[in-house]
């Protein structure tokens, strides 16, 4: 007994000292220069199933060592000071963006996030850490499909048509760069553009407009597209189909939610479980529960459905389309939006295209057809430009779930030696892998083909 007590006391003392010592050094580790190397050797990444990769991501033990704390500021830009907003959007007067500023002169990276994501989304944070560690200032704006962007920065408030979205993005990026120009020093006006998922697709068009169609170009040295879709309509259909992995489709959501919740609750309430629903809880949950492929696919479907629901409601209100919210309805802070949520959950991206985007544009273009909108949404339209422009770089995965094999072939062919295609990773599931991190930094730093 006394021996046990003594051991316990020594342990306590040691922990106490450790706690004090670790408490004194909260500073992030310095950027690791070895990050910017060309990937070589076999790709050691555990998930063979792209669905697992997409949900679970890179396991913590395999992640690149990136600084946790990035000097980071949340900022806001008034783009449309005169726009009259419904009261419910009172907190969207400015477009949100984030800045991670290097203390000294450095090149600047601009980030466009994926579907429904804002500048503080998890993957944006990961990319910010990667490029910050690589020595860049990092500025991130929202995706045009993020409610805040649609309300505060978009000219129409109805996102989904790529030229209009790319114009909105270009204007927002240019204004944000102007605004931060007073706070950071940009080395040799060196600015690159990085987009992932839908943001990668947007980056292709923003880079194109910058060279061909705007009065005041930003002048991107590099444009890096990560896991982009090729055709918005075909990717939308693929993503919408994931909701059918829930038995009964969207109507099966309540039962599915109850099941998942019950399973998570057994983990949460067991004494061995983690004490809070934060951090790597979901990764641990995955290891413990090993959910089926169908459940993981359904989770992907739900995440995208929730952002389609936001998009449908926001664009419907901003464009005064009247599909789920009657045009004359006053939306006050005290107004319950619950009925609109319940209806909005029935709208996937393709429903949005047909029932909000199309009616909105047909008002000013009576001869417009849905087929035209679908054809417009294809990156192949600017394929010739992308194939010959040396500023573009592409990183994606051979098992990407939002591209058809034919679209993947288009990407590989168009970008040739400027493309890095990893064998595994699903949709954005390998961002933190050291070889992928190195490829991202290399894409901005290489000498060019």
């Amino acid at each position: 007994m006394t021996r046990w007590l003594r051991t316990a006391l020594v342990m306590l003392k040691a922990t106490f000292v450790l706690a004090l010592v670790s408490g004194c050094h909260p500073s992030p580790s310095p950027p690791d220069p070895s990050l910017a190397q060309t990937p070589s050797g076999p790709f050691e990444y555990p998930w063979d199933d792209p669905i697992v990769a997409t949900v679970v991501g890179t396991p913590p033990a395999l992640r690149a060592d990136l600084p946790e704390i990035v000097p980071f500021s949340n900022r806001s830009l008034r783009m449309q000071p005169d726009r009259v907003l419904p009261e419910i959007f009172f907190h969207h007067r400015g477009m949100r963006y984030t800045l991670s500023a290097q203390p000294e002169k450095a090149p600047l990276v601009l980030i466009i996030p994926g579907t429904g994501a804002g500048p503080t989304a998890r993957l944006v944070e990961v990319l910010s850490r990667i490029f910050y560690a690589g020595g860049y200032h990092v500025l991130a704006v929202p995706s045009p499909t993020f409610t805040n962007f649609a309300v505060a920065a978009s000219m129409t408030g109805v996102p989904g048509r790529v030229e209009s979205d790319a114009m909105d993005l270009h204007r927002s990026l240019a204004q944000a760069v102007d605004e931060v120009g007073e706070r950071i020093e940009i080395e040799n006006d060196d600015i690159s553009l990085v987009g992932y998922s839908l943001g990668g697709y947007h980056a292709a068009f923003v880079g194109w407009l910058d060279e061909t169609a705007v009065e005041r170009p930003i002048g991107f040295r590099r444009v890096l597209m990560i896991n982009p879709p090729v055709n918005l309509y075909s990717s939308s259909r693929l993503l919408d189909s994931f909701i059918d992995k829930i038995p009964g489709g969207i109507d099966g959501l309540p039962l599915f939610f109850e099941e998942v919740f019950r399973t998570l609750s057994s983990l949460y309430t067991s004494s061995a479980g983690p004490s809070d629903l934060t951090g790597d809880y979901l990764y641990e949950a995955y290891l413990t529960l090993r959910p089926s492929r169908e459940v993981l696919a359904a989770l992907i479907g739900i995440v995208f459905r929730l952002s389609a629901t936001d998009l449908t409601f926001t664009a419907d209100v901003m464009g005064n389309v009247g599909t789920i919210v009657p045009g004359d309805k006053e939306l006050l802070i005290r107004t319950s939006l619950t009925p609109h949520l319940i209806e909005g959950l029935r709208y996937g991206f393709t429903d949005y295209l047909r029932e909000v985007l199309y009616p909105y544009y047909r008002r000013s273009e009576p001869s417009l057809t849905v087929e035209q909108l679908v054809a417009e949404a294809d990156m192949k339209r600017i394929g010739g430009y992308l194939a010959t422009n040396s500023k573009y770089r592409l990183i994606t995965n051979a098992d990407e779930i939002i591209n058809t094999p034919e679209e993947l072939a288009f990407l590989a062919e168009t970008f040739g030696s400027r493309a890095t295609i990893f064998p595994r990773g699903g949709h954005c599931g390998n961002f933190q892998h050291p070889q992928v991190v190195a490829a991202m930094l290399n894409a901005l730093a290489d000498e060019g083909p």
Binding site: A8, L12, L255, E258, F261, S271, T338
Partner: protein, 252 residues
């Protein structure tokens, strides 16, 4: 004398109301029972999303108020707190307050007649107070003794009280009638400093000072930001998740 008779009457009434609702269905449930006993499974989207929220209009306005309060008052104070005090110092304050809070958990575990967890919590308080310099270092967590947090809302729920209407409380945030009553009981009756301050007016300034620091420390350690998701349906999601999260807390 600062609170006067009226003040105590109100608190007593709240406690009584809480206990009365508790008495209607006096069947406690224990560990090992099937989880989430009270709530029927949602079968429709409407059933899933809807939570009993008769004051929804007012709640949504308080939600918006809390956003502005955060922006203009609360978060600037937190920023100043973080600017003035270095992280290691803030950690010591955080641990000290956490140790005091453990006393409230202990009291609630006793009221729930759960001796094993109550003893565990008492031991934890002993370790932190004795070896952690009166609680300024959370030695217990460092050696893997998990904290079991309980509040009077959970105690009411443990004895069968239902949650009542959903409430968004100014400054505090998402809650419901049961948890809000519990919060009052925790703060003024189960918290030793709060209780002493209630009995002896001389201690009131200390109690208020502790409460102020506690409020700032809690906000500094809560990453939640009103409208942070930018989703037009954030209020609905928060309401649903708060309610379900409390279900889980009840059966821990």
């Amino acid at each position: 004398m600062i609170r006067g008779f009226r003040y105590r009457t109100i608190i007593a009434a709240v406690v009584l109301a809480g206990l009365l609702t508790a008495c209607q269905t006096p069947v406690p449930f224990r560990e090992g029972d099937p989880p989430l006993p009270d709530r029927p499974r949602a079968e429709t989207l409407e059933g899933l999303v809807k939570v009993y929220d008769p004051l929804e209009g007012l709640n949504r306005q308080v939600y918006a108020f809390n956003y502005e309060f955060d922006r203009l008052v609360f978060l600037p104070i937190v920023d100043a707190y973080e600017y003035v005090l270095a992280q290691p110092l803030r950690d010591r304050i955080h641990d000290f307050l956490g140790n005091l809070r453990d006393i409230v958990s202990f009291a609630n575990l006793v009221l729930q007649l759960r001796p094993a967890l109550a003893l565990q919590t008492a031991f934890r308080i002993g370790v932190n107070t004795g070896l952690g310099f009166f609680g300024i270092v959370d030695v217990a967590s460092a050696v893997g003794m998990a904290r079991h947090k309980e509040d009077f809302g959970q105690t009411l729920g443990y004895w069968g009280a239902t949650e009542g209407p959903y409430l968004v409380i100014p400054v505090v945030g998402p809650s419901n009638l049961r948890d809000a009553s519990g919060y009052v009981v925790d703060s003024f009756f189960l918290d030793p400093l709060g209780l002493l301050a209630n009995l002896k007016t001389g201690l009131a300034p200390y109690a208020w000072a502790r409460t102020s620091v506690n409020v700032v420390d809690t906000r500094a350690n809560t990453p939640f930001r009103y409208y942070g998701t930018a989703s037009p349906f954030e209020y609905d999601y928060v309401r649903l998740l708060y309610t379900r999260k409390r279900d889980l807390d009840l059966i821990r």
